[in-house]
């Protein structure tokens, strides 16, 4: 028995749609990651965005955020009620526990169960499962489930039973019979078939009318929709039935299900949907049925979404552009974005044109369109309208190779700071200035914006400005000034929705989220691949970086110089590394005190063996959280075989985030003023040498065994061999690692059998 029956169906469908639209979370493990610029949604909390602080809009934003942007860009804005509606919608969509919603355990089902429990003579309540499967028919395999019995069915049943108890008493045989019949109704929810018998002729009339309704409802949930339709019509024609006002609505529901509860879209019965629409319109025309008009309007929206999706999109677009529409905005926006999502999979040529019939929808779809066609369409619309939304869209896509970029630049320069799209316009204007050679202008204006802390650049936008400014660095010092960025969120991002974690929940999260800037991929790439050791050495001595990043850099450069056997560089680094990494002090003192060069090299390798967190490159993002003197349980120890093109690959891969990609679209975008050809060449040479070393465990084994042959009496050798074998277990391996592991193992046991290190080394690892 339902009054707003499809609310749950829509909610379920929308949540399921959200589930379906996210990538499957099938693997892992997943680790903490820093987000520097959100890609799917604006900065959280979203209150600022709802207030109009748009930041630098991303084409990857979900459509609900682009809708808000559009309204601000056309100068419309939102009133307070509308802003609250927006926030409520986003709260539901970003709720990380949305997947765990269990309609079988809903408040409505519990309400029904609690009321029913008063009728003890009816026995224990049967279990309730609100889902029903729609299965195979006509040879084609078909399967999915749907919410057959929505929340209001249980609420209505609870309310009716409460009233009947009041009227007849909990001990009444008639009420007990009523409950048994209702149990039968709900048993149809999940696929059983149970139709109550008509009420006894001598039972009170009200209960007979209730029974007629229960029978119709049972047929409805059992899937006998044509029968249910007829029975509800009978009730609608029965002047004595107190269910009469609701009955026409339920007729429409039966028609809707007949028309739409079908295996495939091809099977949709538009005649039934049209009949449902007509029935609902008739209800709306009947002032005597005003009590169900709100419910009816909602159902009519659902019918029309199935029957006339393109028209419905445009109606919703119009409604969404109607000011002061707080009461309906959330539902309208939900329906609108759902229809756009649904249309995305189905959209082909003709449909694509239909979708763009209204300006707002056209803009949203164009803004998201990263193809060349998206740019050309945006430019056409801007040329035709000179409207700010189209300027923003065009600027977000254009490169300096396009002949219209000068026009766009000129228009962008006229957008005032108080304009809603200022951040987007300005960022892309500066990007184009930089790419077209007007680097000094771009630098000056970026510096001005960064120093002012302009509120129109929320943290994500600020990080993009920093990324742009990093590219414009004239000197290494400048590069290092702008390279560190504060993450806007720390997340595991398991479901891909970029939801920040509550840092209080984990010590590991607290390790990261101490308002410490980190390197993003773009900066790490330059440090790891473009700078030779001489230049890197210079960096460590400078204090431009925060201490924790300087320490990270020092570890990387020290390790690199040690394994490349750049003795002079290493000795030069020792004093500053000791102050930054005191844990390495004793080893570094020993290194410096060792006179023999080969022995010094071995000292360095021995040190690296004892500190599994040492790598010859800096890690971007959160890096390795395990203390650097401890083995990481996920084998992030030392380094894997290094490839020059991807040196410094982090756990999550060497990929620029989507927002950063626009800064690195062409080969020229990768050029840095402060890097000379000689430096680039030297860096490449070093990378080749690093690549030739192979994965760390192999390297260690080779080096240690070579030293063991040369200086077998060195008391450190047994431990070094033990550590080398350990490295083959916990470090990165390749097909040769087993050979090295066995060789080191054999040497340890053959030459130092009584050593405690041999006792500790029970296995070698293939």
């Amino acid at each position: 028995m339902a009054t707003i029956p499809l609310k749950w169906m829509l909610a379920i469908g929308m949540v399921a749609g959200l589930l379906g639209s996210r990538p499957v979370c099938s693997c892992g493990p997943f680790f903490e990651q820093a987000i520097f610029t959100y890609t799917l949604h604006p900065d959280v909390p979203l209150t600022s965005y709802a207030q109009g602080q748009l930041g630098i809009l991303q084409p990857t934003y979900a459509q609900s955020y682009l809708y808000v942007a559009y309204r601000y860009l056309i100068g419309m804005g939102f009133d307070q009620e509308e802003k609250e509606a927006l926030l409520a919608l986003w709260d539901e969509r970003l709720n990380p526990q949305a997947d765990l919603w269990n309609p079988n355990a809903s408040a409505a089902v519990k309400t029904w169960s609690d009321v029913r429990a008063q009728i003890t003579a009816a026995g224990p309540p049967p279990p309730i499962n609100v889902f029903k499967a729609l299965e195979a028919r006509n040879g084609v395999f078909y399967y999915h489930e749907y919410v057959n019995c929505p929340a209001d069915a249980f609420q209505t049943a609870a309310n009716t039973l409460t009233e009947r108890i009041r009227q007849f008493g909990a001990d009444s045989g008639d009420v007990q019979e009523w409950v048994r019949a209702q149990d039968q109704v709900f048993s149809n929810c999940s696929g059983a078939r149970a139709i109550p018998a008509p009420a006894a002729p001598q039972s009170p009339e009200i209960l007979q009318k209730d029974r007629a309704y229960q029978i119709a409802a049972a047929h409805f949930y059992a899937g006998d929709l044509a029968v249910a339709e007829r029975l509800f019509r009978d009730i609608a024609d029965d002047p004595a039935s107190h269910w009469r006002p609701l009955a026409p609505y339920l007729v429409a529901r039966a028609l809707l299900r007949q028309g739409s509860l079908v295996p495939r879209d091809d099977d949709v019965d538009t005649a039934k949907l049209t009949a449902a629409k007509q029935t609902l319109n008739a209800i709306l025309d009947d002032r005597n049925l005003q009590i169900i008009h709100p419910t009816t309007r909602r159902l009519l929206a659902v019918v029309r979404a199935r029957l006339e999706p393109a028209e419905r999109v445009h109606e919703l677009a119009q409604s969404l552009l109607t000011p002061n529409n707080g009461p309906t905005l959330k539902q309208d926006l939900w329906d609108y974005t759902l229809l756009l999502d649904r249309g995305a999979d189905e959209r082909n040529g003709a449909d694509a044109d239909a979708a763009r019939r209204d300006e707002m929808t056209d803009w949203i779809l164009t803004f998201q369109d990263t193809s060349p066609g998206g740019l050309e369409h945006a430019l056409q619309r801007w040329t035709a309208t000179s409207a700010l939304p189209w300027l923003v869209a065009s600027l977000a896509k254009v490169g300096v190779g396009h002949p219209r970029h000068h026009d766009l630049l000129a228009a962008a320069e006229k957008v005032p700071q108080e304009a809603p799209g200022y951040a987007s316009v300005t960022f892309h204007r500066l990007r184009l200035l930089a790419a077209s050679g007007r680097r000094d202008e771009a630098r000056q204006q970026s510096d001005s914006l960064l120093s002012q802390g302009v509120p129109t650049f929320p943290p994500s936008g600020r990080n993009l400005l920093l990324a742009l400014r990093t590219k414009l660095a004239r000197t290494l010092y400048e590069f290092m000034t702008y390279a560190p960025r504060l993450p806007v969120a720390i997340t595991y991002n398991i479901d891909g929705r970029e939801i920040p974690e509550n840092i209080e929940t984990s010590e590991r999260l607290q390790l990261i989220a101490r308002d410490r800037p980190l390197f993003d991929v773009d900066a790490a790439r330059v440090i790891n691949r473009r700078l030779p050791l001489d230049t890197l050495r210079e960096l460590v001595h400078r204090t431009v970086l925060p201490t924790h990043l300087r320490r990270e850099l020092a570890m990387a450069i020290l390790t690199r110089s040690l394994i490349l056997k750049e003795d002079d560089t290493t000795r030069d680094l020792v004093p500053v590394v000791k102050t930054l990494i005191p844990e390495l002090g004793p080893s570094l003192d020993e290194y410096r005190a060792t006179i023999n060069r080969e022995a010094r090299v071995f000292t360095g390798i021995f040190m690296i063996l004892r500190f599994p967190g040492l790598k010859p490159y800096v890690q971007e993002n959160v890096g390795r959280l395990t203390p650097f003197d401890q083995i990481d349980n996920y084998r992030d120890n030392w380094w894997c075989a290094l490839e020059p093109a991807t040196l410094g690959t982090s756990r999550e891969g060497d990929q620029l985030s989507a927002p950063l990609e626009i800064l690195y679209r062409s080969a020229q975008d990768h050029a840095f003023e402060f890097l000379s050809a000689a430096q680039a060449h030297a860096a490449q040479q070093e990378l080749q040498r690093l690549a030739s070393l192979g994965p760390a465990p192999n390297y260690f084994s080779q080096q240690v065994m070579a030293w063991a042959q040369r200086a077998s009496s060195d008391p450190r050798v047994p431990e070094a061999l033990h550590l080398a074998v350990r490295a083959t277990r916990f470090g990165c391996t390749d097909t040769d690692t087993g050979t090295f592991s066995k060789a080191a193992f054999d040497l340890l046991h053959q030459r130092y059998p009584k050593s405690p290190w041999a006792q500790k080394t029970k296995y070698w690892y293939k």
Binding site: I12, G13, A16, G17, L19, G20, S21, P23, V24, C25, S26, C27, G28, P29, F30, F31, P96, Q97, D99, L100, N102, A105, F131, A133, L134, E135, A136, V140, F141, Y142, Y143, H144, E145, Y146, P263, R264, D265, D345, Y634, R635, D636, C640, A641, T649, R651, E652, G653, R729, C732, T733, D734, T735, F745, D746, H749, K762, Y763, W764, Y765, K766
Partner: protein
């Protein structure tokens, strides 16, 4: 972690030592065989199932299987002779002492005679970790077994990224499930690639297929790809099928394996065709 190879140094009285060792091994093996006959020892599982198990029921399943996940999927374009479908039928959330069952809510259809595998995904509630009790195991097993009764399916697959602390629970679920399913119903499971390389806990599971998923690998992706470029999965059970995705680089492919394909959007004929072509052209390891 892979198999450790104990090394026994030559002893002074090597011959005597070797004889003692041989005797000890014979005793151990004899005990193991006896226990294995009784089915009482996990060693019997190792003993009898140390070779990869590919039961006949899955042998006729097509070499390519599309994963149809929780989104509208109408796969009427597939060639049912060469392409099967593994469709997500249900998701179970293990939460506290409960099992929250989320059915498939998006329509799925496939042409007649399609070889169909129903997939049940299990996931843990991060905010209310599961208690992994016996009753939770019973509920989870029952919810999975129920999917096995769907008419029209030829196999069942369970997809669960069990943590180390959840492995015993998962093993029990699979064993109980195997007993509840008809003997003719093949049982497949997905596996993290790391299970197949750095681990061997899959040995002895009562399943007909293990599908290592070489996509969405999170922290392990580079290590796994590098490893597979040089070597095959260490766990033998993982060498018969492989899970790949259309939006990630292909790993090293080895011939003769059933490929399960994931696509982050609804499958279209063009997408499937182009991906199959990409797979065909991808260099294969001998």
């Amino acid at each position: 972690m892979l198999v450790a190879r104990p090394y026994h140094m030559a002893q002074r009285n090597a011959r005597q030592h070797h004889l003692r060792l041989l005797a000890a091994c014979m005793v151990v093996l004899g005990v193991a065989a006896a226990l294995g006959a009784l089915g009482q020892s996990p060693l019997s599982a190792w003993w009898t199932q140390s070779v990869p198990v590919v039961r006949a029921p899955l042998a006729t399943f097509p070499p390519v299987v599309l994963w149809a996940w929780e989104r509208p999927e109408a796969l009427d374009f597939i060639d049912v002779q060469g392409i099967g479908v593994a469709f997500l039928a249900r998701t179970l959330y293990l939460s506290g002492s409960e099992v929250i069952v989320r059915p498939r809510l998006q329509p799925f259809s496939a042409p007649p005679d399609t070889k169909l595998m129903a997939v049940v995904r299990m996931a843990s509630n991060r905010w209310r970790p599961p208690d992994l009790s016996a009753s939770q195991r019973e509920m989870a097993t029952a919810a999975i077994a129920e999917v096995g009764t769907l008419s029209g399916i030829q196999a069942l697959q369970v997809d669960f990224d069990a943590t180390v602390s959840q492995r015993a629970f998962y093993r029990d679920v699979l064993q109980q499930l195997r007993r509840q399913l008809p003997a003719s119903m093949p049982l497949s499971i997905t596996a993290l690639a790391s299970w197949c390389i750095f681990d061997d806990w899959l040995a002895g599971l009562p399943v007909d297929e293990v599908v290592p998923m070489v996509f969405r690998m999170g922290a392990d992706q580079h290590r796994v790809r590098r490893y597979l470029a040089a070597d095959d999965f260490r766990a033998a059970a993982c060498r018969h099928s492989l899970g790949i995705a259309t939006d990630e680089p292909l790993p090293t492919l080895r011939p003769g394996r059933r490929l399960y394909m994931f696509h982050p959007h609804a499958w279209r004929l063009e997408t499937m065709t182009s991906f199959l072509e990409e797979v065909r052209r991808w260099p294969q390891s001998p």
